[in-house]
Symmetry: C2
Subunit: 230 residues, 2 copies
DNA sequence: TGACAGAGTGTCCTTCTAACACTATCTGTA
DNA sequence: TACAGATAGTGTTAGAAGGACACTCTGTCA
């Protein structure tokens, strides 16, 4: 049953840039397109928004359908719609979201939707379909900016982590190396970390103490105007 | 000539939050709606995006049509589309832009498009049509956040200004009072201000020296990773 | 038991931040 | 013409935060 409008309308899509961290590298979740345009090329998960569907819900739905990943904290990134030919078929405006996910929590269900989904190292991701290279780059810039003044880094680690893991994560995101003592001093001084009575297991050296992110302290801090600043 | 699609589509609009500063208060540019829905109510300037039109261009066009204001630096704010009933007529997704304009440069052309347009003090703007109260609030939050680490404040002043004017502007935006000596020290140390050989005219007290924003120095700084931070 | 791998820990110097008050200059009026 | 009013302009100091820096501790494995 076709739907008619007095004037032609752009199609509306959502795309998701999902970052994950793997004790080593920053990763991004991609799918392989199974139909034209860009058949076979890798792309960000995403798709068309239903007319009765909230934008963020559409993003979540597509993400789950295409990769099996769910329950991530999505944040709106930007709406891409200045290039009217960004989709070769017709005018498409796309609202991009981004998120941080713990890789450990999100083993990808390959080919849920008859599609291939996989984590790629951000550093050597393939060239993507549509303008998704641009979208990814913007998400990365935003992530790097945001991590400086909001402790979002915690989202990328397992619930219990060592200070060294946390430091490595920040070093990866900020592309800088940080002083161990200063890093610890600063983070502990913020009071956002809860020291646990547990230590790492199964490592071939002295085991490090485990910490947990103290969400309550974080919320309290936020109300009084947080200054995070690494 | 009607246009048909296999699935129903949301309509796409743009809205503009234009801030201006008036040596006293922060203002926002509003229009009065001349037709339903919300006939007679004040709203943000904006309207439907043409299918072949880039988003930002649509925002600029609507802004000019409805208020006469042009040549402002628009930045994308957010895309509102989670409430599917935000427009009572049908599903409408709106991409919001915001901008800073010098009030002196932009005397509003009243009723350009058979509509009333006017600057309102942000503090006592009327309740707006659609979800525009929310949009305005978000723009304000963004502006306040941004002003801390990017010297956007300069956009809101005439090309030549005194340090006191600049300080008042920041005090208005940050809703805080700043120490005169510290403020001057810090701003001058950044090297973004060019001291002119001119002073204020027609004031009933000692005339203050005029300054200009040094865009070249700003661009140079930005490349080396700007730290503005008031 | 010794070599290896990373954990954990303090001090000092420098820089930035915040608090603070008086004199200078111009105008307008008595 | 002088004085009252209004705002311009200007430095110092004390405390806090940031950044540089190196060695000992603890566990594992060969």
């Amino acid at each position: 049953m076709p739907h008619s409008y007095r004037y032609p309308r752009a199609a509306l899509t959502v795309d998701c840039v999902i970052f994950g961290y793997d004790t080593e590298d920053l990763k991004v979740l991609l799918i392989q397109r199974d139909s034209p345009p860009f058949e076979g090329r890798w792309a960000l998960p995403g798709g068309f928004v239903d007319v009765g569907e909230p934008l963020e819900e559409a993003a979540r739905r597509e993400l789950k359908e295409e990769t099996g990943v769910e329950k991530v904290y999505l944040e709106q990134l930007y709406t891409f719609g200045d290039d009217v030919k960004r989709d070769p078929r017709e005018r498409v405006v796309s609202v991009a979201y981004y998120a941080l996910a713990k890789l450990s929590d999100h083993r990808v269900q390959a080919a849920t939707d008859a599609r291939n989904a996989a984590w790629f190292q951000v550093a050597d991701a393939p060239s993507l379909a549509f303008d998704h290279d641009q979208v990814l780059e913007m998400a990365l810039t935003r992530l790097k900016g945001k991590v400086r003044y909001q402790p979002i880094g915690f989202e990328l680690l397992p619930p219990k982590f060592t200070l060294t893991q946390l430091q490595r994560l920040y070093e990866t995101l900020l592309e800088a190396s940080l002083d161990k003592r200063n890093f610890r001093k600063k983070l502990l001084a913020m009071g956002l970390l809860e020291e646990l009575d547990e230590i790492e297991q199964d490592v071939a050296h002295r085991a490090a103490r485990l910490y947990r992110f103290d969400k309550r302290a974080y919320r309290d801090l936020q109300k009084r105007g947080l200054h995070f600043e690494l």
